[in-house]
């Protein structure tokens, strides 16, 4: 709850215009891009400077008001849903690109800067910020840092954490802290910069970001390969990398996704194929050409029925459009689209895809799989209807089994979306109970009053799902237990 006194204190900090608590305003900050989660905040505050933000946190900390930091609300783990009320703290006004340092190859900017705008600004001077999450046209860099966003270039270039060199953050107690910076080498103490990346708004609020930039590659080529067998496609991914070629992008679409994309976009995908790979390489012209030739050869050796190199930029864009159309096409099928984020080491990719298909059949739910094959990061996506409670129950069971299957293959419960609320109950499966306890103690050190994004990352209730192994048949299933 935000008391009358707290309300007027907050208004005196940010001004009436940027303190919102009318019913409509509260309602529109009760959700993010994650289906099935919604909860009302008590107020929305949109500070215009780090000083204002610090004052807001101090007031909240003193009065025990929860804080949910939020950018554009495009995340897919329920990370910005105010589960336990309190203040939604929107960072969108801190959106200035302060510096593009062409000598040190860094950019320094506010957390409200839109990812695509950062791309544009640095590319204008021949530089390159590689992470490109699917939502980059609207996601904020602050949100990317909080969730450690990935994207289609993860294979060659890594993800957000690989580019964040320094941060300014405000602790829940209101102190403003600088960590990291422009030094390429810096081992003074714990790496608090990296700790904050992917901390999901549970530790502090980022107010300034310094990111590493690369020179923009000279050339880029795009290729598509169609396969009659899922395993052949997956093996191609392994073989390409085993041959010491790291493409910028290696994307995967299964037959179910291809069917849906074709139904919607009519771009002539061969529907008798089981899977397709979409491959991009960038770098110097000669290197790109050489790599693409070798990749094409590997594709054919591994049983690709057809391999096509885009001859023009338009053709390349057309091929990429097929991948980008995947989510849109799926979203048009049924009212609710649940995009998940299971990840395995790339050598287990084929097994994982087969597991997803088996599980979808078992629970009689419609799941299409596409994703970043090169990183082993798959997005099994379920088309369902949140109003059908019985079906949603089966969907939840299916996803639980998918996460367990990924874990069994040495994978993880989330590759790039984050834990948030959606996967809080699975965290200990991945990091173990000692891991969870250590993480909780870290949180305690940053946030002694527990006001930062409560209910996220760590499951709050004592009832949680644990895995029971049934030794005879060797497969796992989940059941509810008192922990």
């Amino acid at each position: 709850m935000v008391s009358k006194e707290a309300r007027s204190e907050l208004i005196s900090v940010v001004g009436e215009k940027w303190f919102l608590d009318s019913p409509n305003e509260l309602y529109v900050y009760s959700y993010d891009a994650t289906p099935l989660y919604q909860a009302m905040p008590d107020a929305v505050v949109i500070p215009g400077s780090v000083e204002e933000l610090s004052a807001v946190l101090r007031i909240a900390n003193q009065r025990g008001i929860n804080i949910v930091p939020r950018g554009s609300g495009t995340n897919l783990c329920g990370g910005t849903v105010p589960l336990e009320g309190g203040i939604v703290l929107n960072i969108n006004r801190l959106n200035k690109i302060k510096e593009i340092d062409q000598d040190n190859l860094t950019a320094t900017f506010g957390p409200g800067v839109i990812t695509a705008d950062l791309h544009k600004a640095v590319e204008a001077v021949g530089l390159f910020y590689p992470p490109d999450p699917g939502s980059m046209r609207i996601s904020t860099m602050g949100g990317n840092v909080a969730e450690c966003a990935g994207g289609m270039r993860g294979l060659k270039y890594g993800v957000t954490k690989d580019y964040i060199m320094g941060l300014e953050m405000v602790l829940p107690t209101g102190e403003i802290l600088q960590v990291g910076g422009k030094n390429a080498k810096d081992v003074a103490g714990y790496d608090l910069t990296k700790l904050l990346v992917g901390s999901e708004g549970t530790l502090a609020v980022v107010t300034e970001i310094t990111a590493k930039l690369l020179p923009l590659p000279d050339a880029k080529q795009t290729m598509v390969a169609y396969y009659r067998s899922l395993t052949d496609a997956a093996r191609t991914v392994q073989r390409v990398i085993a041959n010491r070629i790291i493409p910028a992008t290696m994307e995967f679409l299964d037959n179910a996704t291809m069917q849906v994309v074709e139904d919607f976009a009519r771009i002539g995908l061969p529907l008798d194929m089981e899977a397709m790979l979409l491959i991009e390489q960038d770098g110097s012209q000669s290197q790109v050409e050489r790599d693409m030739e070798r990749i094409a050869e590997i594709c054919r050796q591994e049983g690709a029925a057809e391999v096509r190199l885009a001859q023009t930029a338009d053709e390349a864009a057309g091929l990429m459009a097929a991948r980008r159309a995947a989510l849109s096409a799926l979203a048009r099928m049924r009212p609710t689209t649940i995009l998940e984020d299971a990840t395995v080491p790339r050598s287990r990719l084929a097994e994982m895809v087969e597991q997803v298909n088996r599980i979808a059949k078992k629970y009689d739910v419609q799941i299409c799989t596409f994703g970043h094959a090169g990183d082993g990061n798959l997005h099994p996506t379920c088309m369902t209807d949140e109003r059908d409670k019985e079906e949603i129950h089966r969907v939840e069971q299916a996803f639980e089994e998918i996460f367990l299957a990924a874990m069994k293959l040495g994978g993880t419960i989330t590759g790039e979306h984050g834990v948030g609320v959606a996967k809080a109950k699975y965290l200990d499966l991945r990091v173990g109970s000692a891991g969870v306890e250590l993480m909780k103690r870290i949180k305690q050190a940053f946030d002694p009053n527990g006001i930062m994004n409560p209910g996220k990352m760590f499951a709050k209730d004592t009832r949680r799902r644990v895995v029971v192994k049934s030794c005879e048949c060797g497969h796992e299933h989940a059941t509810e237990h008192e922990a």
Binding site: V28, Y31, S72, S328, A331, P335, T337
Partner: protein, 418 residues
């Protein structure tokens, strides 16, 4: 309700939305508005004043529909939301005088609009406009109206209007096509000459052009303002008028009207007979740019040495998907250097009567638009809808570009080169 449910809340619409860009507030975004509609539909929120304001802050430009991966028909959702607001209000209070005047007493009656045109012409002819400005009489008008009227061109005199020939025939016979020009309500009063120019261009392209009797306002403004009954009535009269005319195509030069004409069938959900007649009508509707692009290229006789940029009409680009045709036509004019406008398909803030009802927001959006327009260093900014044209003319004045830059309807520019 199903259409509301289709919104997957991904937020891809946010960067496309002018009011979100201006305010940075979720409530001013398409995703936010759809969430609010869902809240009202599920009776978690009342259809109160705050909801009304949020629904009416939307320009209805439909740029979000182009951006939406899930294909949510936002335009019709916001119209339905406004209907809910208006019907809730009607139960409790009588509609405002201005609304009543506009929607019930003026738009449905072409002759009253003509009378208004005559009055406007009379006032202009008598120099009342400048007199009013000098004497401070203008201060009596609400500021938005007072400012906007400065952008109005000289309107056609009653005499000029009486000279209109009901049918214009091309030199080549038989004509390639017989088309009925949809003259529109405001278009035909304030921009009479643009309708005449459109007719001349179409005739040059080999069409026989008819000014079909008994046609009325398209109803778009009614529909956008939640006055569905009025809109449906007007649609029926138009369908009847063009059925009787026997033309091959119904051609219009106003993106907003065109989008409404092409969606008439959506207005007759529970009326199978009228729905079929509407579908037949819709099949014949073409924007002038769209039709001209399908016809053999016009041979222009004059060269226009000027730099030209193009501001999309939202309802032509996002509503009807007509984007390339006007650009191609502009490039086909001898002498014209075409310059693409940054964010050309982002709304100029005109949006029907939005620049009157939401003046501040409209001007904020317009000023940003004019920055982009100035950057092109064009001599002419071309539009394809009367509302946008008026707004851009006003924008030219506001930006202090009068005398250096012109705002023209695309048909005027084509006509100049005939």
């Amino acid at each position: 309700m199903d259409e509301i449910m289709n919104c997957m809340q991904c937020g891809f619409c946010l960067p496309a939305c002018p009011t979100y860009r201006e305010t940075g507030k979720e409530s001013a975004s398409p995703r936010g508005r759809i969430a609010l509609m869902k809240g009202v539909a599920e009776q978690k929120l009342p259809a109160d004043d705050e909801f009304e304001q949020n629904m009416y802050l939307c320009l209805g430009c439909r740029a979000c529909e182009t951006a939406c991966p899930a294909g949510v028909p936002y335009g019709s959702l916001v119209e339905t939301a406004r209907e809910v607001v208006e019907s809730t209000k009607k139960q409790s209070e009588s509609p405002s005088f201005v609304r009543k005047l506009i929607f019930e007493k003026v738009f449905p009656y072409p002759e009253r609009l003509q009378t208004l045109g005559t009055l406007l012409w009379g006032a202009q002819a008598a120099g009342l406009q400048s007199l009013a400005q000098k004497t401070g009489l203008m201060k009596l008008l609400p500021r938005p109206m007072a400012e906007m009227q400065q952008a109005v061109d000289r309107v056609a005199s009653p005499m000029e209007r009486r000279k209109r020939e009901p049918v214009m025939k091309p030199e080549t016979s038989p004509p390639a096509l017989r088309i009925g020009l949809f003259t529109g309500c405001i278009m035909d009063v304030m921009f009479y000459e643009i309708n005449q120019a459109t007719a001349r261009v179409l005739v040059k392209a080999g069409c026989e052009v008819m000014f079909v009797d008994n046609q009325v306002c398209c109803g778009a403004l009614h529909a956008h303002a939640g006055e569905k009954d009025g809109a449906v009535e007007l649609a029926k009269r138009n369908i009847e008028a063009f059925e009787q005319s026997g033309v091959d195509y119904v051609v219009n030069n106003a993106g907003g009207c065109g989008a409404a004409l092409k969606e008439y069938h959506h207005w007759f959900h529970d009326d199978p007979e009228w729905k079929q007649r509407a579908l037949n009508f819709v099949a014949k509707v073409r924007d002038a740019n769209e039709l001209l692009a399908e016809l053999p290229e016009i041979t222009f006789t004059k060269s226009l040495a000027m730099r030209v940029t193009y501001q999309d009409s939202c309802h032509l680009a996002h509503g009807q998907g007509v984007r390339n045709q006007p650009r191609q036509l502009l490039r086909s004019i001898p002498g014209v250097e075409y310059l693409e406008l940054n964010r050309a398909d982002s709304c100029c803030g005109s949006a029907g009567i939005y620049n009157i009802t939401n003046y501040e927001m409209s001007m904020q959006i317009l000023d940003e638009k004019m920055d982009d327009v100035q950057e092109t260093k064009a001599d002419v900014v071309v539009t394809s809808n009367p509302g946008c044209l008026l707004q851009m003319k006003h924008g030219v004045n506001r930006a202090g570009l009068a005398g250096r830059m012109e705002a023209l309807h695309i048909m005027e520019l084509l006509d100049r080169a005939l």
